[in-house]
Amino acid sequence: MNNSDLNSVSMPDAGSFDFAQFPDEHGRFGEFGGKYVAETLMEPIAELQAAYARFRADPDFVREFETDLRDFVGRPSAMYFAARMSEAYGAQIWFKREDLNHTGAHKINNAIGQALLAKRLGKTRIIAETGAGQHGVATATVAARLGLECVIYMGAEDIERQQPNVFRMKLLGATVVPVVSGTCTLKDAMNEAMRDWVTNVDNTFYIIGSVAGPHPYPQMVRDFQSVIGTEARAQMLEKTGRLPDAVVACVGGGSNAIGIFHAFLNDENVTLYGAEAGGDGIETGRHAAPLSVGRPGVLHGMRTYLMEDNDGQIIGTHSVSAGLDYPGVGPEHSWLKDLGRVNYTGITDVDAMSAFHDVMRFEGIIPALESAHAVAYAKKLAPLYGKDKIILVNMSGRGDKDINTVAKLEGISL
């Protein structure tokens, strides 16, 4: 990290460029996105796209979504000034408190939106993939509430490290299917969910948990999550009278990041930062940072930056955080990277763990390990910005689910 990072962002023809116009009609963000799926899914996806376009413009649907966000999720989520952390880090650190949402993460915003869509489409069965289990819990929650059958695909390795969430899903009545193919993590869970979907497409709605997958998912999930940034922008203006200088979010598939970035994309003076999982360090190859070192390719229905070998095989990822352990990323992020609108950096496990402890001890908040990556990035940026500058961090989720992982890493048995 050096000072030039702060000035490296050039707005693509700011003013005339409206980020909200994307994706285009083909589901493209520049060269990224699209619909790379088997023929069996093309028509269901076209139907989903049409339904989403219809409901998005339907005041009844929007009202129901907003009511659920308010009364069930507890929105708007708080905007919190982290005073002691600001003192320690050297810039004004604010948290957008998605960790306070019902079920403990931003994932619920999207799960509610898609479940409402599923219900209106008359689907009786919901499936989802999950990594950290947060999206699985959110999906199981909304399925329980709407009385829909729910099946969650989860990598066997992730089941191991996210036991509390697995149990939560089961309590909510969901079936959790362990995925033992490939690397037994999030990408394989997504493969398995796609297989289920293609087989049961008549009665089943696939609730994808991030801004990934074929069009219209990246757009739809972004729209449902953009409530984060819309609220944050207004709250910032209200509380400080100005916009933040920087916004930082962690990037797994990229939904909390797009969610908070989107309202700020057209604000030239707000610099945006995405923290990918740097794992053991980018130079070790053991990480999950496709935007930092990947190359464009096709996976899970989208063209996007991927971690792959020379033969085009997707390579195994590593991160302490199950929710960031994904070799791809939402296509809009790939586009924002190439446009230079967002700066993406890998944050190592070690730095994330250190930030995890900082948040606990300075602020009395247990952050999700995913969100701790964003905090760690803010820690690096703070001295470059200085104490008069505002850095807004998306606290995407709470870390109760992670305490077993943390204990294990630190050699403590609970």
Binding site: V37, T40, S181, M194, T199, V201, G297, H300, G312, I314
Partner: protein, 269 residues
């Protein structure tokens, strides 16, 4: 022109149904593949679909997905598979070879580069499961230039207007996926199939191959009544899986016998 259209013309003249087996290249071992291809032809295969293993075979069921994993344990990549086709071509200049797989390994090689090398190796068609016509315009052009047929899937969910779009871009034949689901699925409804093929033929002049759910001589015969080609994947891959990576000769015999049985059923309908 590739070898595919002449094959279908010849079969039509003989009033025969094409038999197209699928196997994953490099399964059980890279060294076994060319021998297995010859054995398939020996047993009566008219063309061969050669699977290109991918780390994330989303559209494949457990049997073929496991074959991809076995092949990848040997680091089999697209370049090795082109070498296999080239080796196969030294003895067999006639049987069409169709590569079937996912887009990412092809893009990693570079589409134009791949098309050129595939042509040189003797590949006739490429079926990319996750490349629907909407995303395939550029790719299809490059294949056409290299005399490679882009093979497209038509699914039970494909509406008539999409069949038209597919027909415009496809050459060689089209592949009707007889079931909703992944490869290896069960329960084929031949009556519904006949109705569907009727609709497809109305929109598309190309021969229609049918795959997914064809497991044995009986199902092959039933489908063969309706289709221009029957495609057999998981059932064959299962035989290979059960055999494991032993001596080449007995596996080749097994595979050849399995083909011969189906060939016989198709020719005596």
């Amino acid at each position: 022109m590739s070898r595919i259209s002449p094959l279908f013309e010849q079969l039509r003249a003989q009033n025969r149904t094409a038999l197209i087996p699928y196997l994953t290249a490099g399964d059980p071992t890279p060294g076994a593949t060319v021998g297995l291809m010859h054995a398939l032809v020996g047993g009566g295969a008219d063309a061969i679909e050669l699977g290109v293993p991918f780390s994330d075979p989303m559209a494949d069921g457990p049997v073929i997905a496991a074959a991809h994993e076995r092949a990848l344990r040997h680091q089999v990549g697209l370049r090795h598979i082109l070498d296999m086709v080239q080796e196969f071509r030294q003895m067999d200049k006639k049987t069409p070879v169709i590569l079937m797989g996912y887009q990412n390994p092809i893009e990693a090689m570079g589409i134009a580069n791949f098309a050129q090398r595939a042509q040189a190796a003797g590949v006739d068609g490429v079926l990319t499961v996750d490349l629907p016509p909407e995303e395939a315009h550029g790719t299809a052009k490059m294949y056409a230039k290299a005399n490679i047929d882009p093979i497209f899937l038509i699914a039970p969910t494909t509406p008539i207007n999409r069949i038209k779009i597919i027909a415009e871009l496809a050459s060689g034949f089209v592949y009707y996926v007889s079931l909703k689901g992944v490869t290896g699925a069960q329960n084929l409804d031949t009556q519904a199939l006949a109705a569907r093929l009727h609709d497809i033929r109305h929109e598309c002049a190309l021969p229609v191959g049918v795959g997914f759910g064809i497991r044995d001589a009986r199902t092959a015969q039933a489908v063969g009544h309706e289709a221009d080609a029957v495609i057999i994947g998981s059932a064959l891959v299962q035989i290979i899986a059960e055999f494991g990576a032993g001596d080449a000769a007995p596996l080749q015999q097994k595979v050849q016998a399995f083909m011969a049985e189906i060939r016989h059923a198709l020719d005596t309908q």
